[in-house]
């Protein structure tokens, strides 16, 4: 009791508070790029303090790659080494797309905790908090892609496109993942709980990834499914990444992927910012 009473407790200093108020200046407002990067820095700080959030980006790709390579390899391509040449670019795409969905639940949690109320009350370029979040996620996506590549190489994947082809492929995945992220930011502003954001995200992601050419060549599929697979943007992305990593001349799929990416940002970016005004 006495110890408690006599121990000096750090106190806010009235004089210091006044001087802190007085010494504040009003620096020139930073530009959109600067504030987006600052929000990206916040995402990196969060990874530093909560490294558990890297669990999904390391374990998911390993699990998917091993599971699908050994599950389908023998049956579909005769050997796992043959199959991994076909599967790896696709499974890398799937790994990244699966983890983009955490962007939505993270945003939902931030909104619930009131962090975004402060961000939204700042005089900064409005989308920068979200752009920064997605930029920070790019680090997570890159880790996922690196883990998948490393495991692929161990399993006998030999990309003919070399380092350049692989790097270009990963970059294309990052661009697409960034634009896909705006669907999840929009959902998390429309839906009220993290659990419902997760549920709806799964409903979107499952047909997008499995209804594509990630696992098998679509030529044996029934016509209606082929029709879906051929318009699915994930199929364009996977084909483009396969071409880049496989060192074959890239066709229209790279362009189509970029068009899809631009379209997603235009539509879901606008919808997100429309909901962002009154987010709660």
């Amino acid at each position: 009791m006495t110890i408690e009473a006599t121990r000096p407790r750090p106190q806010p200093e009235v004089a210091a508070i006044r001087s802190a108020l007085g010494s504040s200046e009003r620096p020139p407002a930073p530009g959109p790029l600067s504030t987006s990067l600052t929000f990206g820095w916040r995402a990196l700080l969060k990874i530093k303090h909560v490294p558990e959030q890297l669990f999904d980006v390391t374990v998911f790709p390993v699990m998917f790659t091993l599971l699908f390579t050994f599950l389908f390899g023998g049956a579909l391509a005769g050997s796992t080494t043959d199959y991994v040449q076909f599967l790896l670019p696709g499974i890398m795409v799937q790994g990244v797309i699966m983890i983009t969905m955490y962007t939505g639940t993270t945003l939902r949690t931030d909104i619930e905790k009131g962090v975004f109320d402060r961000f939204r009350s700042l005089p900064v370029w409005r989308p920068s908090a979200l752009v920064g979040m997605l930029l920070g996620d790019a680090v997570r996506f890159t880790i996922s892609a690196v883990v998948t590549s490393a495991l692929g190489l161990l399993l006998g994947w030999r990309p003919a496109g070399g380092v350049t082809g692989v790097v270009l492929g990963v970059l294309l995945i990052l661009v697409f993942a960034f634009s896909l992220g705006w669907i999840w930011t929009f959902l998390s502003l429309v839906l009220r709980t993290s659990a419902s954001v997760m549920g709806v995200s799964m409903l979107v992601i499952t047909p997008l990834t499995f209804g594509s050419n990630i696992f098998v060549d679509p030529s044996t599929m029934p016509g209606w499914l082929q029709a879906f697979v051929s318009v699915n943007p994930v199929s364009h992305l996977v084909t483009a990444v396969r071409d880049l990593m496989g060192g074959v001349p890239v066709g229209s799929h790279v362009v189509l992927t970029l068009v899809w990416a631009a379209g997603l940002v235009a539509v879901f970016g606008s919808l997100t910012m429309w909901r962002y005004r009154d987010a709660r």
Partner: protein
């Protein structure tokens, strides 16, 4: 400093959220510092700052990182943002906790870091939304000291609170809000005068004497005296202190021994009773946002 006083669900938080540009008004318009909150939202954001009901800093980051982050967003560069963060941490007594994650802070520390976050750049107008809800008395006094220091330093503050004594301690003018409408406005003194000077609580030594004591009090004070849940307690609202002295003498004459006689400030409930004719209704915190 202006206080917004009202119970849960009265519309205080909603009002603040509209004024701080976090929510579009359903109808009508609002101006803050002469700028429209919808069409000139960014102008408003440049001038005001908000401290929400819940500490709205990032729990996963440390105190220093939170302040550096906001400093950079306001345009301080590198070293300058760090220096500003350290200056604020020092002023708010948080230097020791600077490198700890905010989620590990105590309630009082969280409120201080949140207020510090609101003055990274000194605002022209600061919204303080229920700054002491859920704090222990010592932390509450600390927050009050901080708020007084800011007001003395020339910052205009709009405070919302459910506690009459908080509004009384801090605000020059108070608006009482109920169901989204301002039902009374004035200085703390004027408001209290409108509900009588205070709440009289009498506790008799022997609960069996309570009915007798009640009769004496009603006769001398000329107001209604309520029997409280405590079997020895009585309560009444009085307009002035004069009759209270007479009541004490009368009780003594009737040989009614008292355990306690206290004349306190009217409570928010009494303010409400006097102003609206109904008691403050408790509503779900959830409804507050939509009220």
């Amino acid at each position: 400093m202006h206080g917004f006083l009202g119970p849960n669900g009265a519309g205080k938080t909603t009002t603040i959220r509209v004024l701080a540009t976090l929510l579009s008004p359903d109808g009508g318009s609002a101006q803050v510092l002469g700028r429209d909150v919808v069409s000139q939202a960014n102008e408003v954001r440049r001038r005001v700052s908000l401290t929400g009901q819940f500490a709205s800093v990032d729990e996963d980051l440390t105190g220093r990182e939170n302040l550096r982050l906001l400093g950079r967003l306001y345009g301080y560069r590198g070293q300058r943002a760090t220096r500003r963060a350290d200056e604020l941490l020092e002023a708010f007594g948080l230097t020791e906790a600077a490198n700890r994650q905010v989620k590990k802070y105590s309630g009082g520390m969280r409120r201080r870091i949140d207020i510090a976050a609101s003055i990274v750049v000194t605002p022209e107008l600061l919204f303080l939304d229920e700054p002491t809800t859920g704090l222990d008395p010592r932390s509450r006094n600390e927050v009050w000291d901080i708020v007084r220091a800011m007001v003395a330093g020339g910052t205009t503050v709009l405070l919302t609170t459910q506690y009459l004594d908080e509004a009384d301690q801090l605000a020059d003018r108070i608006s009482v809000i109920d169901h989204g409408k301002v039902i009374a406005e004035g200085t703390p003194g004027q408001l209290k005068a409108s509900v009588g000077s205070g709440a009289l609580t009498v506790r008799v030594l022997d609960p069996a004497q309570r009915p007798a004591a009640r009769a004496v009090l009603e006769r001398v004070l000329g107001v209604e005296v309520r029997e409280e849940a405590d079997p020895s307690a009585l309560a009444a609202s009085v307009d002035s202190t004069g009759p209270v002295t007479r009541a004490l003498t009368a009780l003594e004459a009737e040989e009614i021994a008292l355990a306690q006689l206290a004349l306190g400030q009217p409570t928010l409930d009494e303010v409400f009773l006097a102003l609206t004719g109904h008691v403050a209704e408790e509503q779900d915190a959830d409804e507050e946002g939509t009220a």
